[in-house]
């Protein structure tokens, strides 16, 4: 194919990738919840409706680390106090930052790590382990490097071996059957390294937090450096969390 032909194809196809992943807001996406300041009285409708016990009342707070974005609470609230926006930036570097308080309107901020930014700001290689995940998170993670979200442009790539990886991206509630494999993968990674917990299951156990078949001892010994909530998280959530964490300005 000649140069001109390929340029013509390029022109007719247009560009598919999202030019600005930092400010794009997806349509039809259920993202950051906002809690209004209306009074609740004795009502606990939202907390009772929540399948993952992510909501505490008086005052109402939502733990995004547990939230599966099912919007049962939004439906259950007679006062329309809880509303899900389409804001995709949900990541946090500290677990407590994932708690959404009443009246908070600011989007979540990931605290950048200067040390990791210096090391991995230009190139971050990720190894993914699905420890009992349902493949929803994994599909979205895969999408993070497709032509639309194109995380490679920031030097972020998946690699096949933990020996080559800088960060371990964990999905799933960490089942007993996978605990040794996760530990092996983590031990096989060279330092410096960090752990990213993706999805409600990985962050808190999600729907399976009380199941007998999970064993989360690994996460207690190795704390995640970055949390990416969602069920599953949007690729934009994941990419933006990493970019914020590494202090990458686009």
């Amino acid at each position: 194919m000649s140069l001109f032909q390929s340029l013509r194809v390029r022109r007719s196809q247009g560009t598919q990738y999202i030019r600005d992943v930092r400010s794009t807001v997806p349509t039809g996406f259920r993202g950051l919840p906002v809690i209004g300041e209306a009074g609740c009285g004795e009502c606990r409708g939202c907390a009772d409706a929540c399948p993952t016990a992510a909501i505490t009342v008086a005052p109402v707070r939502i733990d995004l680390g547990r939230c599966i974005f099912c919007a049962q609470c939004e439906e259950a609230c007679p006062a329309d106090k809880i509303r899900f926006t389409s804001e995709p930036k949900l990541g946090a570097a500290r677990r407590e930052d994932l708690l959404i308080a009443e009246g908070a309107v600011e989007p979540l901020r990931v605290q950048a790590s200067a040390a990791f930014a210096k090391l991995f700001g230009r190139s971050l290689k990720l190894r993914q382990v699905s420890a009992g995940g349902c493949n929803a998170c994994e599909l979205e993670l895969n999408a993070a490097v497709n032509v639309n979200f194109d995380a490679q442009r920031f030097g972020i790539e998946w690699v096949a071996s933990p020996r080559h990886a800088d960060a371990l991206v964990l999905t799933g509630p960490l089942t007993q059957n996978m605990k040794e494999a996760v530990r092996l993968a983590w031990d096989a990674m060279p330092e410096p390294r960090f752990l990213v917990a993706v999805g409600a299951c990985a962050i808190s156990g999600g729907l399976y937090r009380e199941a007998e078949a999970i064993d989360r001892a690994f996460l207690e010994s190795v704390g995640p450096a970055l949390f990416v909530p969602g069920c599953p998280p949007h690729p934009l959530t994941f990419v933006n969390a990493l970019l914020d964490f590494l202090g990458i300005d686009t």
């Binding site: 382990v129 933990p162 040794e180 494999a181 996760v182 092996l184 031990d187 096989a188 330092e191």
Partner: protein, 660 residues
Amino acid sequence: MSLSIFLLAVPLLALGAVLALVSRSNRASAAIALATQAGAIALVLAGAGRCLLGGGAQELSWPWPPPINTIAFRVDGLGAFFLAWSLPLTWLGTLYALGYLRPYFAQGRHGGTHFALLNLIALSFVLIYSVQNALVFLLGWEIAAVAAWLLVIWDYKSQKIRFAGFNYLVSTHVGLFVLVAAFMLLHSKTGSMDFAAFATFLARPSPTRGTVFLLLGVAFALKSAFFPFHSWLPRAHAAAPAHVSALMSGVIHKAGLFGFLRFTLLMGRPEEWMGWTVLAFGAVSAFSGVLYTSTQRDLKRLLGYSSTENVGIAAMGFGLGYLGWCWGNASLALIGFAGGLLHVFHHALFKCLSFYASGAVYQAAHTVDLERLGGLARRLPRTAALFLLGGLAGSALPPLNGLVSEFILYTGLLSGQAPAPEANVVLVIAAAALAFVGGVSALSTVRAFGVAFLGTPRDASVQVGGEAPAAMLVPMLCHALLVLAGGLFPQLAIELARSSLGLFSFASPEVLAASLAPVGALATASRLLAAALLGLGLACWWKGRAARRSPTWGCGYTAATPRMQYTGSSFSEHLARIFEPYMPVSRRERLPNELFPQSSGQLGSHHADAVERRIFEVLARGEDAISEFAARIPAHSRFAFAAGLFAVIVLGAVASGGWP
């Protein structure tokens, strides 16, 4: 005068052998053997050292009762070259024996015989490398052969080892018959058993000279285990104690190549067909030997085949020397002989190292079966490093000594100095064969080292003991240093061989210096490479010293077993498949057949020696044919038939002029 000092080594070694034999304690036997051998080395060097430094040959002759009449001894550059390293390497082997046989001594075994035999081996070198009389030459030859046989069957209680020893004894005597035949032929033409008389006859081309050349070639090829006369060798090496294998492969069997060179010098300018024969024979030997190394399970069998490969490489050098001599090209001839001679020496250095290291493996693990070993580098770090060094030198990799001699051969084979373009093409093909041999040799080294020393132990029943004792490590270290020195300072070995190369009628110091000039460039490159490797190694060590250790990444699979590692067979399977017509493989397999197999399957493959197998096939077929034929003769006329056969043989002998 100094030659009589030299010959004092013979009674000294004999005395040492007797004392070692009668001495009660093993330590005393070893000390006597070591001391007398050290004395012999000093005497030999005092007597023959002058030849090495460029002095002329020294002669001495004694009157002796008939049929020998006079025994002439003559030490020239060639003999001095072989003596200069054969005796010290035997001394190191004797020292190694002290460490290697220690477990046997601890069980109360008396080792006096063993040390006495090692002394006799040294004695046979003094005779073979200096004597000028065919009968005394045969005596030395026979002493070496029988002593080597007795050394091989140290573990004589095992039937397998007795069989291997017997196999060696028969093979070496088949070689002896051929050698005797050649000497008888020469005697019939010259009426003398003196090499000097042989020389005057061999100097003129004649059909008998060609026959003698072929007979001697076969005899020396059997001694040095050239393909296809090699089949006894892997068996003997696998059966013998490690130092005996080392000495046989590295030192004792070099007598075959010495004999070849000795008669080359007696013969003078050869005919061209001889050169091509030797070159082709050497190439085939190197090619076949190295192919067999790639499939062996037994570490010592592998090293045995590698001997066949390396004597083949040396013979390629001699063939090139013959051709250069015929073509009147002194430079090419010197390159060929120098390359061959240096390879003989360098092979002795690195092959002994490999055998000693395999002996240390045997001592620690009580097996040298590659498929049962694994992960030895952690348990035997020194042995592992030394084995790797020996293997790399054998694969002709810089900056080690194996490359030097092969490099000289490459410069000759690729020089394009043959008079005919067709001949040049053949030489380039020979160079390609040599490159192939080096490559496969590297593969075999990687395979043997990787399977035995890396990975994890394959067989839980193999209990690995500790590192080898000092008596074994010191000889290995000496060899390792020599291997390194040979690569970094190749001029030293050339100096050692200079006086032997000077014996050739066409040689002159100027031509020698000019034709071996590329070695200087090689030495510089080797030193630079060695410095770079050293720097890199130190840097890696410095950087990795604080590194965290974690287990091998196995894709998170938690049910991995040592059986899932690469085996020796699987490592070389691709190569073996390409050369399957050449290396027949017998497979035993029982594959799982149902959808949910009830019993586990099995797969085993075994590479038999093609030559050995063919010999037995042909013998069996011949026997069948003869017995069939005999059955067809009516019973009453069998006696008449035998008488007729005898008459035909006698008449045939008379007719062909073989009758006196």
